[in-house]
Amino acid sequence: MKRELLKFLILAILVAILPTLLSGSYLVNVLIFVGIHTMLAVALNLLLGFAGQISLGHAGFFGLGAYASAILTTTYGINPWIAMVAAAVAVSLLAFAIGFPILKLKGHYLAMATLGLGIIFFIVFNEAVELTGGPSGFSGIPNLKIGSITFDNDLKNYGLIWLFTLVTVLLSVNLANSRIGRALRAIHDSEVAARVMGVNARLLKVQIFALSAGISAIAGSLYAHTMGFISPTSFGFNFSIELITMVIIGGLGSIYGSLIGAFILTILPEALRTFQDYDIIIYGIILILMTMFLPGGLVRGIPGLLARLRPADKQEEG
């Protein structure tokens, strides 16, 4: 437990000092997205890494949160904070209701069902033009406010988003190390065995699905209020895949891994921009190399890789 606390403190200090090193740079803006992506990756990891249930539709929940917030605040003039809570509760309930039938499925079938779910949401964002503004987007979303502070510039938004991100990380680490976390891992390894041990696997899977969707919705709300503009292109199938990649690159079942995965997948395209047209190719190659040589993710993989390197030098293993 002490080690967990130490890790978290180091992260919190890093988060606090980073913007002072980068003040005025566009990188602060990029780090805002790292924060949002971290929330999403951690939420997805709870489901995918711990409970072992895949979701290819998380961009849809993210989008639902963003649109719910946008519509409630801009069209109906509701306070953004209330809208955020309402969005999170509504999306969690929705996920809870959908979760019961969907999470009965396993493996490829679950992947397909969640894929379909994400696509349905995406179509709704596009087609419900009166409500969502359709493909050309929804603009004029107000910034969040606390008293006289309006979160209207990169630095303030950085603080806000990372506060939420840190809370998400802390709660998730706690959850992972609790009885529930162990029960989830038991379901991951063998659902039948977990049931035999008295774990209500079905309910627990649905609950974690709802929690994961709820966190994604909060991330969506934050995204909408910091961007001031949303359009369906940000919530498509590709983004769901990107989230899964973040979780896998970072390491399944590792909360800090998700943070690192989100960081790398958000920063890497920026760093590769100097290669101009070839950036996508290099990006792809790096991802392939990572999954080939670090299949367990970066957090677990790097120590493992180092250990493997030493004997490997002597006997040249394939």
């Binding site: 005025g24 740079s25 566009y26 803006n29 990029v30 997205f33 596009n126 087609e127 033009v129 359709g134 493909p135 050309s136 987007g137 603009s139 990169d154 961007m227 001031g228 503009f229 949303i230 359009s231 369906p232 292109t233 940000s234 920026e270 760093a271 590769l272 921009r273 100097t274 290669f275 047209d277 996508i280 290099i282 790096i286 190399l289 040589f293 890789l305 390197l309 490997a312 030098d313 040249e316």
Partner: protein
């Protein structure tokens, strides 16, 4: 061994990334940002735009630059994703310190970054068509692509002349289609036109027979379809297969040879509003845009071995408008903006632009001509 090699390559790559980003500061050209959706679903817009922008900048530099200073185009790919557009506009403004921005290619991306350019005070010349971009007028935002509303007016004008009053519309459910649908619905009453069927289709649909069957059994005297390739070609074929004899109108979204290739014989007789690029060679000599059009089409052919299209034209106009503004107003963002707003009678590719305090789109419906497909080529409708 192998792992060592890979670590070596990886660190070399990373090193060159960091070196590369710090090297760019040496010379002192005028920096112009570009945001184009070169990859992704809107790449058919972004690629010709990026190509054209680079071509025009190179030409300006080859001719000695602007007042002796070279232009530098810093172009990024938004992938048609508004999150990326938002990140990249921040990079252009804060990191690259550009004095003006050209693009983005799509209405969604453009709307996403308006807040940022307004706050930073950097002039933006968008290459997207959505009328929302400049209506209401924003201080720093201009655009070159013709408003959809102008194309709608051009068709309705013609319908009125032909005494057609009952019309079916069939629009694609993406940004282009929904904006067109809005305009069609908004402007119909003014021309005494009744929309008897208002249906949509998905951008990836491969058969529109159900919608067309519905239209056939309605009172419609004409069909207007609003979409970009390949949907409209499917509709043209379906119309022919079903033996529907109603006149078929398309939007400027399909005014490229590609549409005629896709639709084949089914394209014959279809009428659509279009910018002048596709008919540049048959335009009368006195046409104001003829000189710009011919030079653009010829250059594009020379550089990229492909036909210059409207989309490239939007970028051509954007860069040339900026060039004019820099010549007249200097190299500060504010100076460029003020000079842009005073642009009068600039004959570009998309039309003849005249900006003012109340109009940052700058075009009238004369930016469009009506063309008809005849013998697998375009002919002007008189």
């Amino acid at each position: 061994m192998r792992t060592r090699l890979i670590t070596g390559i990886l660190s070399a790559v990373l090193l060159s990334v960091f070196l590369g980003s710090s090297l760019a500061l040496a010379a002192e050209p005028i920096k112009i940002g570009g945001l184009f959706s070169v990859t992704g679903p809107a790449s058919f817009l972004g690629e010709p735009e990026r190509n054209t922008a680079q071509m025009v900048v190179d030409e300006i530099n080859a001719a000695g630059g602007i007042k002796g200073r070279k232009l530098q185009l810093i172009a990024y790919d938004t992938q048609g994703d508004s999150t990326k557009a938002k990140q990249l506009v921040n990079k252009l403004i804060k990191n690259d310190k550009v004095v003006a921005i050209v693009g983005p290619s799509t209405t969604g991306d453009s709307m996403a970054i308006i807040g940022d350019v307004e706050r930073a005070g950097i002039p933006l010349v968008s290459c997207a068509a959505g009328s929302k971009i400049t209506d209401p007028v924003k201080k720093w935002v201009f655009k070159t692509a013709q408003n959809d509303g102008l194309a709608v007016e051009k068709i309705f004008d013609y319908l009125k002349k032909m005494k057609i009053s009952h019309v079916a519309i069939l629009t694609v459910s993406d940004g282009f289609g929904s904006s067109g649908r809005e305009q069609l619905k908004a402007k119909a009453a003014k021309y005494g036109i009744k929309l008897v069927v208002d249906d949509t289709y998905g951008p990836k649909d491969t058969d529109m027979t159900p919608q067309l069957t519905k239209i056939r059994s309605s009172q419609a005297q004409a069909i207007i379809c609003w979409g970009t390739n390949p949907g409209p070609a499917v509709i043209a074929r379906n119309v022919k297969q079903l033996g529907i004899k109603l006149p078929l109108f398309m939007s400027h979204g399909v005014s490229s040879k590609k549409f005629i290739e896709l639709a084949g014989d089914a394209a014959e007789g279809i009428i659509l509003p279009s910018g002048r690029v596709i008919v540049s060679d048959v335009l009368p000599q006195q046409d104001k845009q003829k000189k710009s059009l011919i030079s653009f089409v010829k250059d594009y052919q020379k550089h990229y071995k492909a036909e210059g299209d409207h989309f490239g034209g939007h970028a051509w106009d954007a860069i040339m408008l900026l060039k004019g503004a820099i010549e007249r107003g200097g190299v500060t963002p504010a100076g460029i903006r003020d000079a842009l707003e005073k642009t009068v009678n600039f004959a570009g590719i998309g039309g003849v632009f005249t900006f003012s305090r109340t109009d940052h789109a700058g075009l009238t419906k004369d930016a469009f001509v009506l063309v008809q497909v005849k013998n697998r080529d375009w002919a002007l409708v008189k």
